[in-house]
Structure formats: structure tokens, C-alpha cells
């Protein structure tokens, strides 16, 4: 296999497995309009829980599911800090994330847990007859597809509508009898459950978990969501959720190309942060319309429709995201 194909495959694998995290970030930043920084702690939490349980001899599937449950608890912690103790959303996330650093070390017992020669979800599916080179790819694709379908369906349930309205117009949905505190708490819980699930899979995929592997995950997730809005304009919920995953794949490709172009791996967080800054700084807009115009993607008509369609909403939200609440 040529190095380029290998590079593309690796980017695709990572894009899909981190795509689950991107769906989680989409739920908080876009659906709930809540800038949740818990992610940097709940991602390694997922890895820590799964790795520790697997080393202790648990079934990897069960360990991965439990990692998600722990992520859920981390998310509702941030939600309770914000809604019940009236701590700003940003600070609530930072507090949980900071506490999780100690908790993750407690769970792991040290800063790095290797999973070499352990059964993982990847070794357990060996018997299914999927050829080795694409085994992880197929598994991640199936898992992420299920999450896209389930999350999209969820956002169209009565509960899902109330959740979306909480991010869109809190006053209105409260006047319709919805306890918006509960919506935020549950929404944050689900988001961080997805993030921890992603962390658990990543740990098994890379063969170890590290207490520092969450650094910059919020920003990476946000970059994926924003890129996703360019690649798949989010006219419907299904498109938006799919876009988060597509954005994650494109983001990993960009990172792969940045590495090839000579960036050191340690520079990548700077590259990612710069991407997000550019996206948010574009006045009154995400860079969807800009990118379209300059790259000449789609017809002129579509480009204009893109400006009209996404000009108001994401820009307004990008601004709102930066506010502490």
C-alpha cells in the first residue's frame, strides 16, 4: 500500500472515531448553544475507564459502554454547576475538566495505561471476517453511522425538540412548560457520554490511554463542527449531525497534510486553534460563504444562497458562544 493511501486511511479512521466526539461537541456548542469545555476531561475519562476495566479483564464492549456512562456523569456535573449553582457555562466546564484530571489519574493509577496484548473491541471483531487493513475503518464507520442515525432521531423526538428550543429560545420553551435546567443537564450529559465513548474507542485503537490525551479536544471538535458546516451546509438536523462527522474527517485530512507539509506534531494544536479563530473572527459569519466564494465551490447561485442561508444564524451563535453565562 502506498504511503498516500495509508495516510488517507489513517485520516479516515481517525476522522470517524473522533467524529463521535464531534457529534457531542455539536450537541453542546450548536444545539444547546453552550460552550462546554468539559470535553477535554471527559475524553481522557472515557479512555481511562475503558483501559482500566479492560486491563482488569472486563469485556471491552462493556468497558466502552461504561466509559460512556462515566462521561454522562461528567456532563451532568457541569450542567448542575451551571444551572443549580449559577456558575457561568465556561467556568463550569473548566471546573469539571480540572477535577477530571485528578479523577482520571486516580482511575488509571498512573499517567499512561498500555493496552498491548489486551483484548479490545478491535480484536474481538476479528472473527467477523473483515480484512485487517479496513477492519478499524469498517467498525468505526458502522458505529458512527449508528450514532448519526440515533442522535438525529433523538433530536426529532418531543424531548429532542425541547432540547433544541432550549438552545434557540430558552424563554419561549420555558413558557411552554419545559424545565430548561433539566434540558441543559441532560444535553450536557449526552454530549459528554459521546465524547467519553469516543475516548474509549481511541484508547483501544491506539493501544494505550494517556491522561494528557484530552488537551485541545474541545477545539478539535469545534473545528470539526465548523468545517462540517462548510462541507455539508446544515439545512436540516440530519445534515448538521452528518456534517459534524464529515467535518471531523476533513479536519483529520487537513492535519495529515499539515504534517506532510513539515509541521511538527506538537504544532498541530496551534494550527487547529488558528483554524477556529479564523472561522469565528470572520465578521457576522462563519467562513462557509467565504470559503465557497474563494474556492469557487458550487455555482454562484449556491454561493449566494449559502451567504443568505447561513449568514445570520451561525455568526450570531459564534458570537454568543464566546459570552460567559
Amino acid at each position: 500500500m502506498s504511503p498516500t493511501v495509508g495516510m488517507l486511511r489513517a485520516a479516515l479512521e481517525q476522522g470517524l472515531v473522533y467524529g463521535i466526539l464531534a457529534i457531542g461537541v455539536y450537541l453542546t456548542f450548536r444545539v444547546l448553544d453552550f460552550p462546554d469545555l468539559t470535553v477535554d476531561g471527559s475524553f481522557p475519562l472515557g479512555g481511562a475507564v475503558a483501559a482500566t476495566l479492560i486491563v482488569a479483564g472486563w469485556n471491552p464492549f462493556l468497558a466502552t459502554a461504561l466509559a460512556a456512562v462515566f462521561g454522562y456523569v461528567a456532563g451532568i456535573t457541569t450542567g448542575v454547576l451551571n444551572t443549580k449553582l449559577r456558575i457561568s457555562g465556561l467556568l463550569s466546564g473548566i471546573l469539571t475538566m480540572t477535577a477530571l484530571y485528578s479523577i482520571n489519574l486516580r482511575i488509571m493509577g498512573r499517567s499512561n495505561v498500555p493496552l498491548l496484548r489486551q483484548d479490545t473491541v478491535l480484536t474481538l471483531i476479528e472473527g467477523l471476517g473483515i480484512p485487517e487493513p479496513v477492519r478499524a475503518l469498517v467498525l468505526f464507520f458502522v458505529v458512527v453511522a449508528v450514532f448519526v442515525l440515533v442522535v438525529s432521531a433523538f433530536l426529532h423526538t418531543e424531548f429532542g425538540l425541547a432540547l433544541r428550543a432550549t438552545g434557540d429560545n430558552e424563554r419561549m420553551i420555558r413558557s411552554l412548560g419545559v424545565d430548561t435546567d433539566t434540558m441543559k443537564i441532560v444535553g450536557l450529559g449526552i454530549s459528554n457520554a459521546l465524547v467519553a465513548f469516543s475516548g474509549a474507542l481511541v484508547a483501544q485503537f491506539q493501544g494505550f490511554t494517556d491522561v494528557g490525551m484530552g488537551i485541545g479536544m474541545v477545539v478539535a471538535g469545534l473545528a470539526s463542527v465548523i468545517i462540517g458546516e462548510v462541507v455539508v451546509p446544515p439545512r436540516t438536523v440530519v445534515r448538521a449531525v452528518t456534517g459534524a462527522v464529515a467535518g471531523s474527517v476533513v479536519y483529520r485530512l487537513v492535519i495529515a497534510f499539515a504534517l506532510r507539509a513539515g509541521f511538527a506534531p506538537t504544532d498541530l494544536k496551534l494550527v487547529t486553534a488558528a483554524m477556529v479563530v479564523i472561522a469565528l473572527a470572520a465578521p457576522g459569519t462563519t467562513f462557509a460563504p467565504l470559503v465557497k466564494r474563494y474556492l469557487g465551490l458550487g455555482s454562484g447561485r449556491a454561493a449566494i444562497a449559502g451567504v443568505a442561508g447561513s449568514g445570520e444564524e451561525p455568526g450570531k451563535r459564534a458570537g454568543a458562544n464566546q459570552e460567559a453565562r
Partner: protein
Amino acid sequence: MYMLRIQGLNKSFYTGSSGDGMNGEKVAVRGVNLSLREGDFVTVIGSNGAGKSTLLNIIAGVYYPDSGTIYLDGKDITRLPEYRRAGSIGRVFQNPGHGTAGSMTIEENLAMALRRGKPRRLARGVTESDRKLFRDYLCLLDLGLEKRLTDPVRLLSGGQRQALALLMAAMTRPRLLLLDEHTASLDPKTAEHILNLTCKIVAQNRLTAIMVTHNLMHALNVGSRTLMMHEGEIILDVSGSERAGMTVEDLLDKFAKVRGERLVEDRLLLA
């Protein structure tokens, strides 16, 4: 038996500092007593800052009063959280954007309103039978919205959005409908249309309603009773034949008189 009974309601806001030398305390509602019978349609007027919105917000549970009691259907709801009394109280706000979720579709907005006050389940949010119902309701608005069920609400005009908000507030026939200057941000023609819709919906569903308006003619022509608020107090409460004989000029006179008296009092105090 009154459906809504408000006794001795007081509410002040405390701001960091204020120019009026009152240690940043601002009395918004002062000693308000008010009782409504089932089917009453009350209009409320008063200058800016008179406390009209605060009164409606306290009834809806957005704020709790400093003192006083609110009974709805004989039940003390004074300290009930807003979301727990929302099942019986529909609201329309001044800003059309406040009553609807712009990023969601017309049918999604209506579906959320259809479950007013009920638990939100993991069942499909908009069903086929809901859609049929929504089309029928939207036809009543006469704005062509029944053909646009899956359009995001942010694409609608202010008037269309306010009509939708009105429908959402009234469709489950809440015990009480609170309208806070809900035509004030619309152009005169649209405002007239929304007001007509309001009267139609209130009459057809025999709703009990409180409507704040800055339009004195609407205040007298619409509904069955008119209140005037000034500096947190209800200073005029007319209905029946007394109201029927009133003109806009009479209201303006009353208003000027109250203000004048206050001025005289102030001068006496200062002297």
C-alpha cells in the same frame, strides 16, 4: 368564584445604583389587587415603566413577588416555578422573535406548543395527525402558512411570526392568556390583523386574557374591562357601562390628572 385572584402584590428591583436617590431600589409593582372571572378579557394601559410587564411576569412565574399572593383556580401558585404553571398560562411577547424558535420549523414550533405543560417523551415530535391539525389551525390565520410547515420560522416576517406565536400560546386553550404589547413592534396594518386574530381566538375558545397595549383605542374597543397602571399601581379599573361610555379623551384626561396630582404631591413634599 374567581379564576385569577391577586392580593397585595409588591415587587421591587434592586439595581447597583440609580439616579433617583432611592439606593437603587425600583418599585415595579405596588400593592396590586386584581381578580378576574372566567372569560374576562382585560386590557391594560400605562406609560413606560408603569409595571405592566412586571405584573404579567409575576403572574407567569418569571419573577416571584416580594409579598402578596396569586391564586389560579383557587390554587396558590405564588411560588410555583414558571415551567410548572406554564400548562395553564399562554404568553405572547412584544418581540415576535421571543415567542418562537427561529432555527426550528413551523411544525416543530407548533408541536412544542401542543405539548404545553406535558412531559416531553422520546416519542416522535411531529406526527402525521399533528400535521393535519396544524394545517387546520394555520388556515385560520389566513397567511398561507399551512403550506410552509417545514420552513424554518426565521424565514417568516414579523407579523407571520407573531401570528404563529399567538397560535402557539392559545392552541391548547390555556386557563389564562397573557399578551404583552404583542402588536407594538408591527406595522399598523399587520398590528390590526394580529389584533383581529387575537379577538377571534379569544372569543372562539372563550379564553380569559390580559392584554397590555399602548394603543388607547384598542384598550377601550377590545375586551370587557380596562386597567390603567401608574408607578406600579392600578389607578383605574373600568368595565360595563362606565367603560362603554368612555372615550380615548376621557382616558387621557384621567391620565393627565393622576400625573398632575403626583406633581402637586411632590411639590407639597418639597415645600
